[in-house]
Symmetry: C2
Subunit: 136 residues, 2 copies
């Protein structure tokens, strides 16, 4: 299902801001801060404000099209394509994808048993990225 349809289906308006921000997220592939998203779409949308980026990212997250990745200092966003895990550098805050198969069914089941309604689950590995490890 494509974003335009999804928006129309919910009676929301299809704007170039929404389409372009979603595309930027999808094409970049990485974990972007709101500011990076702004800079990415600015050429195509001269004058977009950071606030529009924020509200659009929140909307995309609500729609399930984007995913919020909590990071030290700032929230980052990624396209909600495939599920993967994250390595977070404790020194510089960089986030990298981690591809590993981890069985999480037990975790989500335990969460559900605790009264929690799970939406998604993932592994976060904290440590030092290669660059910061080399520098110390």
């Amino acid at each position: 299902m494509d974003l335009s349809e999804l928006l129309r289906e919910r009676g929301m308006r299809v704007t170039s801001q929404r389409l372009l921000i979603e595309r930027a997220l999808r094409e970049h592939g990485g974990h972007l801060t709101a500011e990076q998203v702004h800079d990415l779409v600015e050429p195509a949308l001269p004058g977009v404000t950071q606030q529009t980026v924020y509200s659009t990212l929140a909307l995309l997250a609500d729609l399930g099209v984007a995913r919020r990745v909590v990071a030290p200092g700032t929230t980052r966003f990624e396209a909600a394509a495939d599920s993967h895990h994250h390595m977070v550098c404790e020194r510089c805050g960089a986030i990298e994808d981690l591809h590993a198969r981890v069985p999480l069914a037990a975790a989500t089941r335990a969460a559900r048993e605790a009264g929690f309604v799970p939406d998604s689950a993932g592994v976060t590995v904290l440590g030092l990225c290669a660059r910061c490890a080399a520098a110390s």
Copy 2:
């Protein structure tokens, strides 16, 4: 090893702020925001500033005595005692402990292979806490 020794060993000063903040973290057991930590130690340390709390928490995290838990909106801190997982409510930001056995060796090994130097790893389940789920 106790905090006083740890500090002395590194040539750092043993202050009541450091000892009491660490104790508050350990005795409370939960995931505290810097502000909550401040309010907890304020009775015993009249006039402590939020800045002292911040720098002390950063120090404790560096020493490995406390652990930073990245949460939406604000960073939280917990005593670095036992390793457990977290459920994070996407609506209200609450964090709860999740007790489940999840094999993470594969994840840390994959991280190491990617040049990352893992420090700790844990599962984060995103979703709605019982209270927020009931309210919607």
